[in-house]
């Protein structure tokens, strides 16, 4: 039964249960049973007393308790009258608060789902680019100046390959003479955009070039290369789980909304037509 394991299926099951529960409990608390009666029970009074105690660290006196009960009766009367007058409608505060509460319900459900590793594995494969480690290169470089002649370049290359130290062709520069295994985008931020492209496919261990940077011409000896790879799931489990949850809660919120919206016939102006 594939469907039983689907997170979306779980979600609807839990969601349905919560909505049913709310449907059962809400009429009792929300005095619509008899519109003309306001009943404050013993338990309601006890709750008020408890709230008072939490705030003031003592029991309320009888007079204080009476004042609390009166205040809640007053609130109830005014709320009911306000509803009769329709004052709750069109109030942006009340509306956004209600829709926000619905979102909270969805979010709470979404974060409680525990996916199986194969769901995460599939998510990892679908979004492999996000988790791939960057291409890395380690190299040594010699700067030959802005526009060295071909003869100078050739001479420097021969000398370097023969392991001769020679300062004639080494223009002084603040650029690092070598870089350890470094992500290509970092290399580019030091040497200028595109420099790292020139390093790929160079023979390792050999002085090669010329390579163009933002400053001029370089000879380069690539020392090590670490190609981009996708780490196995166990290494990045928590990261993938976090992203999976984020994606899932967005999917669920959308699905939830669509299900609810399906209960309505929605009439809205066709804005595409209007704009023509």
């Amino acid at each position: 039964m594939r469907v039983v394991k689907e997170p979306l299926f779980h979600f609807f099951l839990i969601g349905a249960a919560i909505f049913v529960w709310f449907h059962i409990v809400s009429p009792k608390t929300d005095g619509v049973v008899d519109p003309e009666t306001i009943a404050i029970g013993e338990s309601d009074a006890a709750l008020l007393a408890l709230q008072f105690e939490a705030r003031w660290k003592r029991q309320p006196s009888d007079a204080e308790l009476k004042a609390l009960v009166d205040a809640s009766i007053r609130e109830e009367v005014l709320v009911r009258e306000a509803r009769k007058l329709g004052l709750d409608r069109g109030d942006s505060v009340i509306r956004s608060r209600l829709s926000q509460k619905m979102d909270f319900l969805t979010e709470a459900i979404a974060t409680s789902i525990v996916p199986e590793d194969k769901d995460l594995e599939a998510f990892l494969q679908q979004n492999s680019e996000r988790y791939a480690t960057p291409n890395k290169v380690a190299f040594t470089q010699v700067f030959l100046g802005e526009e060295p002649s071909d003869v100078e370049i050739e001479g420097a290359l021969v000398a370097l390959r023969a392991k001769q130290e020679n300062s004639d062709w080494q223009s002084a520069t603040l650029l690092p003479a070598s870089m350890p295994l470094t992500a290509t985008k970092v290399i580019d931020s030091v040497f200028g955009t595109g420099f790292s492209k020139g390093l790929t496919n160079l023979e390792e261990g050999q002085w090669m070039g010329p390579i163009q940077s933002g400053y001029g011409v370089h000879l380069v000896q690539v020392l090590d290369v670490e190609p981009s790879q996708i780490p196995p799931l166990p290494e990045i489990h928590s990261e993938v789980l976090r992203d999976w949850r984020r994606a899932m809660s967005e999917d669920l919120a959308r699905a939830q909304y669509e299900t609810l919206a399906d209960n309505y016939q929605i009439i809205a102006p066709d804005l595409a037509d209007q704009s023509k």
């Binding site: 942006s92 505060v93 956004s96 608060r97 926000q100 040594t140 010699v142 802005e146 300062s167 080494q170 002084a172 520069t173 603040l174 650029l175 690092p176 003479a177 070598s178 870089m179 992500a183 985008k185 970092v186 580019d188 931020s189 030091v190 040497f191 200028g192 955009t193 940077s213 933002g214 400053y215 001029g216």
Partner: protein, 640 residues
């Protein structure tokens, strides 16, 4: 008796015999320390490249940022700094040209976390009449929202925030703790040692009567230490605007958690003279031994350039310096409730503060203004943008639009700071050996940092006594620099011989940026009369220019094409390297030296607004400027 003496003898002998065992013969030591390794890259312990970052950024968690509609939280701010594309609060796609290496996220601590709850209309906020009023304004959007935001800021600076809200969003309240936790955990989640460092930090927003005394704080530590405390605030009764209260918090933090923290101020230019006092502090204290010791201990860094003005130098204080008049804001204090007068300026600018530090050191033996330099954005958009062609403004209300240049930053009956004066600045470069919290923090402590107004100019600065002209020929400049001298942020080694100090200076232009015009050394000193002096020396420049009669190097020229907002690197040079000796050295005078590297002229951000939106620029808008880098100083102290 016999036994006792044996005992004594053995006691007396034993340390010696242990030592004797540990001293090997000369032959045994052979080969223990190898010769100089063949590889010149082996054993390298100094930093190879500067790490770029922003020390000052706000997200929607900050009261003012959130009230002005910033809906981006720390997660987005971190992802943006790391180079990811995000959607700004105004719905615009934005990305940095190059990712940063590190960042300190510094949300305002006062009413931290209130703004997102206001945006969401949380019941606790709406229960308060003022909260409800602001929420309705925020929801209405447009001018109503702006009015609400302004009302929030006004109530904050006048300390008239509703008590219930203050109670719910100050230290001790759950909402405050949870917001701090959110900040700490977001940093931890994005901290990626070796490739990106996310510092836990905050801004302590002291602004009594509109005088800007803000300090940012960065922690060296992770969540285990950071979560043992909540950050301090300034609103009474929960906090105090006196920096001494912040120092007390820092002391307690280190004591209680075993962690480490530093504080650094910014925008002395909006303090009306109170940032760098020499006699009295704003809070009625004296600049005494206790004050200078605490300030020296906790503030080894200063944020010298940012969106609200560049604070290196001011033409009134440095009339001889033709580059001093750069992006200065000198109208008044932060909310322009008091206008600026010339006598206030000396207490506001970094160069003057460095000079005052020499005087106070002479008096107290401690220099309270011995700071390294840094730049930051202070953006309130969650977007650390300091590039002219990618500038997302100070707050959400001035994210790119055709009219933002015409929105004043502030305007009232006393004065105005027009919108086109916002500065697309800056970043801090750190010479750290690795990209981790510990390595970068430690570099801040030893002041091995420098500021730029945005471009990633490379800058090396070493001071010593025996650099020679041939040192500029070396391919391994840093090798020579660290071996023969000390790096930026340090004290010169004790004087050898009779000569003047020499400095090895090198500047490299941004790999994708504009060429360099010149590098200069700025010297400040305390003369034998006890007066503070300064002088700016050109030490290397491009295009073989020759000094005029007054000794000044003529201007480099300007290649900016106003119609296309472009320039060419046909003037200036990519790299400037020099060894410079102080020609006016007085061995008896305390002094500091720092380097200023200046680019050729490039377009200011307003020109890109004109190009892309057809923005209607004010007639007096500055269209081109020369961006720059400021090194941390090297200090000289005469021998006793």
């Amino acid at each position: 008796m016999f036994r006792k003496s044996v005992c004594l003898i053995s006691l007396a002998l034993s340390p010696a015999s242990v030592l004797a065992d540990a001293v090997p013969s000369e032959q045994a030591a052979e080969g223990l320390f190898s010769e100089q390794p063949y590889s010149p890259y082996a054993n390298r312990t100094f930093p190879e490249r500067p790490l770029w970052g922003d020390t000052h950024l706000h997200t929607g968690l900050s009261l003012d940022a959130g009230a002005f509609g910033n809906t981006l939280l720390p997660d987005e701010a971190w992802r943006f700094a790391k180079g990811e594309q995000v959607i700004s609060s105004t719905g615009q796609s934005v990305r940095l040209a190059r990712p940063l290496d590190w960042m300190v996220l510094t949300d305002h601590t006062d009413l931290m976390g209130f703004a997102p709850d206001l945006q969401a209309g949380k019941p606790g906020v709406l229960a308060d009449p003022k909260g409800l009023e602001w929420y309705e304004g925020y929801k209405a959007g447009g001018a109503e929202a702006g009015k609400a935001a302004f009302d929030i800021i006004t109530n904050f600076s006048q300390m008239t925030l509703p008590e219930t809200l203050l109670d719910s969003y100050s230290p001790g309240a759950d909402a405050f703790s949870f917001t701090w936790e959110q900040i700490v955990l977001a940093a931890e989640q994005h901290n990626d040692p070796g490739s990106f460092t996310a510092f836990i930090g905050f801004e302590w927003t002291s602004v009594p009567k509109g005088f800007n005394l803000h300090r940012n704080v960065m922690l060296r530590d992770g969540p285990i230490r950071a979560l043992q405390m909540v950050p301090p605030v300034t609103q009474p009764p929960y906090g105090d605007t006196d920096p001494k209260a912040l120092y007390a918090w820092l002391e307690e933090y280190q004591e209680k958690t075993g962690g480490r923290a530093v504080a650094f101020a910014h925008n002395g230019n909006l303090s009306n003279g109170w940032m760098f006092p020499t006699e009295d502090t704003y809070h009625g204290g004296k600049v005494d031994e206790e004050y200078v010791a605490a300030r020296a201990k906790w503030e080894p860094h200063y944020e010298v350039t940012q969106i609200k003005g560049d604070g290196e130098a001011h033409p009134f204080l440095s009339p001889e310096d033709e580059f001093a008049d750069y992006e200065n804001w000198d109208v008044g204090n932060l909310d322009i409730t008091e206008l600026k007068t010339d006598d206030m300026l000396a207490g506001e600018y970094a160069r003057e503060a460095l000079k005052r530090g020499l005087m106070l050191e002479e008096k107290f033996g401690v220099n309270p203004y011995k700071f390294g330099m840094g730049g930051a954005t202070d953006s309130h958009t969650s977007l650390a943008t300091a590039e002219e062609d990618n500038f997302f403004g100070k707050s959400v209300s001035v994210e790119p639009s055709s009219s933002r240049v015409n929105h004043p930053f502030i305007a009232n009956d006393l004065g105005e700071i027009p919108g086109d004066l916002l500065v697309a600045s800056g970043y801090t470069a750190v010479w750290a050996t690795e990209n981790t919290r510990t390595a970068i923090f430690d570099a801040f402590k030893r002041r091995e940092t420098y500021a730029t107004t945005g471009p990633r100019i490379g800058l090396r600065f070493f001071g010593g006594w025996d650099f020679s002209d041939s040192d500029i020929e070396t391919r391994f400049l840093a090798d020579v620099g660290y071996t023969k001298g000390v790096p930026m942020g340090s004290d010169l080694r004790p004087r050898k011989g009779e000569g003047a100090p020499k400095f090895l200076i090198a500047a490299l232009r941004d790999p994708v940026g504009a060429n360099l015009d010149r590098v200069q050394v700025v010297k400040g000193w305390l003369d034998s009369e006890g007066a503070l002096q300064e002088k700016v020396y050109d030490v290397a420049w491009s295009d073989d220019r020759v000094a005029d009669q007054s000794g000044k190097i003529p201007a480099v020229g300007n290649t900016v094409d106003i119609d296309t907002a472009s320039w060419t690197n046909t003037i200036g040079t990519a790299e400037l390297v020099a060894v410079w000796a102080d020609p006016d050295f007085d061995p008896d005078a305390r002094a500091f030296y720092y380097v200023r590297a200046i680019e050729i002229p490039t377009p200011r951000w307003v020109l890109y607004d004109k190009l892309r939106f057809g923005a209607d620029l004010p007639e007096d808008a500055v269209l081109t400027h020369q961006e720059r880098a400021y090194s941390s100083p090297i200090w000289y102290t005469p021998a006793e």
